[in-house]
Amino acid sequence: MERDQPSVAQTLMHEMGLDSGAIERRKRVVALEPDDLTRIAAVKHLVVEDAEGHTAAFFNHFANLDEARGLLSSKALLERARQLQKQHLRALVSGVYDLGYIEQRIEYAAVFASAGLEPRVFLGAFHMLLRSVGTSIMKRFEGSPTDAFESFMSLKKAAFFDIGVVNDVLVFERERLIRQQQESIRELSTPVLQVRERLLLLPIIGVIDTQRARFITESVLRSIRANRAKVVVMDITGVATIDSKVANHILQTVTAARLMGTQVIVTGLSPEVAQSLVALGIELSKLRTVGDLQGGLEEAEDILGYRMVARDGARPVAAAPALD
């Protein structure tokens, strides 16, 4: 179907990497074969005829569950879910499981995801649906239980194919929330502050891992350009421990800043950190360090040519050591 804007389901499909290749692999995972399609076609009418009843079995199960409150409390959502469930039953026995089919299933799953339904709750109700379908198949094949079982199992393969998709959507949506939270924590946790004209302060608190180090370096470099910074004071008082990896990340940031013509002064190395850096034997000659943040800011001001003087004019405060 041609649309100007991709639908929510299409976007999700793309984000989850569900293309025709992935669909074929998923079919192999549940071992859906041509024989199954024949058997499904044979019981098609049983499913379609009583679509209402099967759908009711699915939703009645939710009625007894506290966990499904999110779904039941919204009339609009529930109505939409019912509609999509009926559509699902018709599609399930159509024998065509292609991109369009997956798109429908994703749309179906997205409704449950937006209701905050946990995968296990969905599975519970889905079982009731299958049970209802299974019962009508057993009735139809009363004389030959083996045939009934085979037909039902074939249908179940298609159903498990769907469960796979729905479960992935539910999990993906939940992980999206986590990803968004992590992203905002990262951004909040590493501010780059302008203290004076052309002087940036970068306080680092907490654990630095590779991802965060990358993020820090990128945001520092961007801020250097945006603020035309000449000096950056990087305060690592809040970094409890340092290993060789973290030390290398710090060195990388310093080196990258230097390539842009900016000096980085590292401050706040605690005795433990200093000792472990020495013990690790990390080459620190390129690093310009000052004991504490105050000293670092004073040195930075000195580089920039500022001199801070007390208001009575008697006592110059920022007596920074001479440059090398």
Binding site: R225, G261, T262
Partner: protein, 123 residues
């Protein structure tokens, strides 16, 4: 594409405006080495603002431009390395050791003037 080398007082300015082949870079190096002597320049500013990639050959050539200029009596400053480029260079271990760098052309010229002043004081 030949890179123009402009003369401004006793400073040479080479502004790179487009992606370079290795050959262009080598030609730039030779051109600067030659012009530093001809104009008796005291400093060379190489502006790489327009470049969105600096590979190991380019880095090495920039370094050799700086050293060559130094031997010919002029200090070289590389200016305008973009944030992404700087990050990529560091990841590749290209550090442009002992070559002066500055944020942009303006800063580079300020650096050159400051170096000149301190030389004058020292001399």
């Amino acid at each position: 594409m030949a890179i123009p080398v402009l003369k401004n007082g006793d400073v040479l300015i080479a502004s790179i405006q487009a992606a370079l082949t290795d050959r262009d870079l080598v030609e730039l190096r030779d051109e600067i080495a030659e012009q530093v002597g001809r104009h008796r320049s005291r400093a060379v500013v190489v502006d790489v603002t327009a470049l969105d990639v600096l590979d190991s050959f380019a880095t090495r050539t920039l370094r050799s431009i700086a050293y060559t200029a130094k031997l010919r009596g002029a200090e070289a400053v590389v200016v305008g390395i973009q944030p992404d480029v700087a990050f990529a260079m560091v990841e590749l271990g290209l550090h442009l050791e002992s070559v002066a760098t500055a944020l942009d052309l303006e800063e580079g010229l300020a650096y050159v003037r400051a170096a000149e002043r301190s030389r004058a004081r020292a001399g």
